[in-house]
C-alpha cells in the first residue's frame, strides 16, 4: 500500500468507533441530554459483544447484543437524568466507572481468548480503485454502515417527523407537549439510542479493529466523541470531519514517527483536543449558535 492509502486506512479504522458514539451522543444532545455515558456504553458493548462473538462465532448476534447492552447503560443515564433529575455530566462519569468495574469483572475470562474470524468483505471493482480502493472498500460491514450513518442520522433528524420531535424536545419541550407528544418519552428514546450506537461502536473496536478485549480499552474515546459533537456544531454531516479528524491524528501519530518527520509526537497527540478547543471558542461567540436550547441551559447555568 502506498503512504496515502495507509493513512486513509488507519484513519478510518481509528475513526469508526468514534463515529458511532459521536452520532449517538449527537441524537441525545439534540434532545437536550448530554450523554457522557457513551463511554460506558462503548465499554459494555466492546466487552459483552466480544464475549458473544467469541462464544457464538456470530458477529450479527454480537452486534445486536452489544447494541442492547449499550442501550441499557443509556437507559440508566436516561432514568437518572430525566426522571431523577441528576446532573447529566456527573451521571455520565459515574456510569463510566460503573461500566469499567462491571467489564473488568465479567470480562476477565475474555482477556486471554481470541476471535480470529475474517470479517472483511471487499466490494468488487470499487476495492480495486487506486489509492482509495484498499482503504475505503476493503472493510467490514460495520465500517461500511458508518460511511452512510451520518447521512441516515441527518435524514432522520431533519427530514422526518420523528427527528423534528427529537429536536423540538431539545429546544422547547413545551411546544412538543402542546402538539400532544410526551417529551419525556422522546428524550428516553434519544438517550437509549445514543447508548445503542455507542455499544455498536464498542463492539466494532473490540471484535474488528483491535481483535480482542482488554480492560478499559475504550480509553476515553467516548468522552472524545462527546466533545466532538460540539466540534460538529450538532450537525450530523460534519461528523465525517470530526470522527476522521481524530482517526487522522492517531494515524499521523504513528506515520510521522515512522517517516522521521520532525514534528514532536506530543503535538500530534494533542491535535484533536486542540482543534476541539478552538472550535469550542469559535462556536461559543458565533452569532448563529446551533447549540440546542436545553444544552445551553446546562452550559450557561441559566433557565
Amino acid at each position: 500500500m502506498n503512504d496515502l492509502t495507509v493513512i486513509l486506512a488507519n484513519m478510518i479504522a481509528a475513526g469508526t468507533p468514534i463515529m458511532y458514539a459521536l452520532l449517538g451522543d449527537m441524537i441525545s444532545q439534540r434532545a437536550g441530554v448530554i450523554s457522557l455515558s457513551v463511554e460506558g456504553s462503548m465499554l459494555v458493548g466492546a466487552c459483552i459483544g466480544f464475549g458473544v462473538a467469541y462464544s457464538t462465532e456470530s458477529m450479527i448476534l454480537a452486534v445486536i447484543i452489544a447494541g442492547i447492552m449499550g442501550g441499557m447503560v443509556g437507559l440508566l443515564q436516561a432514568f437518572l437524568v430525566i426522571d431523577r433529575k441528576t446532573n447529566m455530566m456527573a451521571s455520565g462519569f459515574v456510569l463510566m466507572f460503573f461500566a469499567q468495574g462491571l467489564t473488568a469483572f465479567y470480562g476477565r475470562n475474555l482477556l486471554s481468548v481470541s476471535f480470529r474470524k475474517t470479517l472483511v468483505y471487499p466490494i468488487p471493482f470499487l476495492s480495486e480503485l487506486p489509492v482509495i480502493g484498499q482503504a475505503l472498500f476493503n472493510q467490514d460491514i460495520l465500517t461500511y454502515i458508518s460511511f452512510i450513518l451520518p447521512v441516515i442520522v441527518w435524514f432522520v433528524l431533519f427530514k422526518t417527523k420523528l427527528g423534528l420531535l427529537v429536536c423540538s424536545v431539545g429546544e422547547k419541550p413545551e411546544v412538543t407537549e402542546a402538539y400532544g407528544h410526551d417529551p419525556r418519552k422522546i428524550r428516553y428514546g434519544a438517550v437509549i439510542m445514543a447508548g445503542v450506537l455507542a455499544g455498536i461502536g464498542g463492539v466494532q473496536m473490540s471484535c474488528i479493529y483491535t481483535k480482542g478485549w482488554a480492560n478499559g480499552m475504550i480509553n476515553g474515546r467516548g468522552f472524545i466523541a462527546s466533545a466532538l459533537v460540539i466540534l460538529c456544531s450538532w450537525k450530523p454531516l460534519r461528523s465525517y470531519m470530526a470522527a476522521y479528524l481524530f482517526g487522522l491524528a492517531q494515524a499521523l501519530l504513528v506515520f510521522l514517527q515512522l517517516k522521521g518527520v520532525p514534528i514532536s509526537m506530543y503535538v500530534t497527540m494533542m491535535l484533536p483536543y486542540l482543534l476541539t478547543l478552538a472550535a469550542l471558542g469559535v462556536i461559543s461567540i458565533s452569532k448563529k449558535p446551533s447549540m440546542p436550547e436545553k444544552i445551553k441551559v446546562v452550559s450557561t447555568g441559566t433557565d
Binding site: R116, K211, A214, L258
Partner: protein, 364 residues
Amino acid sequence: MSNFRKFMAILLSACMVFSFCAFADEAEVHPGEGATKIGIILGGNKEDYGFNYGFYKMAEQMEEELGVEAVIKENVPGNSNVEGVIEELINQGCGIIIPTQFGYLEFSKNVAERHPDVAFYSIPLTDYNGGNFSTMHGTIQDIWYLEGVLAGLYTETNNIGFIASLPIPDVIVAINAFTLGIQSVNDEAQVNLVFTGSWDDTGLQTTSCNQLINDGADIIAPFQDSTKTIIEICAANGIHAFGCNSDAKELDPETWLSACENTADGWIPYMKDAIDGKYETANVIGSFDVGLEDLASYGDSVPQEIIDKVEETKQQINDGDLYVFEGPVTAQDGTVKFEEGYRPSFEEINNIDWLVEGVNGSLS
C-alpha cells in the same frame, strides 16, 4: 462522668504501657521471621499477560520453594489506599510484603516503619532502602540484548518494529540494548521505533502494528503493559512478536518469539533467610546473574540454531566476556557516547537519553 474519665485514664495508661513494650521488643525483631504468608500487591490483574501475570508465576514458585501461601491483591492504585491494603495483608498474617509498583514506594515505606517485624521487598530503586525495606531491582539491558540477537537472526525482511510507550529510562535502555543486539549479528537490519504515548491503548497499538507491518516489519517488539493486542494483530498478519515482562507463550506459540521475564530465583534465598530469622537488608540490582530477570520460553517457530546462538551469547554475558553498552557506542547523531572498551556503570546506563545509531525514531 467520672466513671468514664477513670475508664479513659486506665485505657490510655494501658496504651502507653503496651507501646513501651513494643519499643522494648524492637531491638530483637527479625523481619519476616516464621512467615507463613507473603503478600503481593499488583497494579493490574493476572490476565494482562505482562508484568502482573509474571508475578503470578513467581508467586507459584515462591509457594513451592518456601512452603508459604501467597496472598495477591490486584488492581491496587498507586495512592494512599495502598497503606490500607498492606495493613490488611499484615492483619491476615503476611510476614513478607512485595509492593510491585513505583507508585507504592512512599506508602509501603510508611507501613514498613509501623511494622518492623514485617519484611518488605520492593522493586524500584529508592533511597528508602534500609531496615526492613529491601530492594530487588531487575535490570533489563542484558535480556533485551539477547532478544535483539534473536530478532537479528530471525528476521527475513531486515525490518523490525518496536512499539514503545513513553521515553523513560527503562524503555530507552530496552530500545538501545535491543538494537545493539540486532547489530551484533545482522548489519543490515533496521529498527523502526514508534512511541504510542500510552501503556495500554489497544487502538494505538493496532494502528502502530498495522503501519509497521505495512512498512515491511516481520517482527514486532513491544514495550507496553499489555501485549495481547499486538500478538493478535501479528498473528492475523502472519508475522512474529515478542512479549514484554512475562512469558505469554500460551497466547500463540507460533507468533511468540520470546520476552524479558521477571524470575523468582533471586528473591527466594533472601526470603528464606528472612523466614529463618536471618533477615538482612538487601539492595540487589542485576539480571539473570542474580536471578531477577531471564529470557522467557522460546516460540515454537524459533529454530534450534538461533536458540543455540542466543544461549551462547547469554553465557558470554554471564562470564563477563560480553558487556552490553561496552564501547564503542555511537548515538543517532554520530557522536561516540562510550569510547572503545569502556564499560558504563549501571547509573550511566540508566541515564542514557539518546538512541543508538541504527534506530529510526526520535525521543521527542
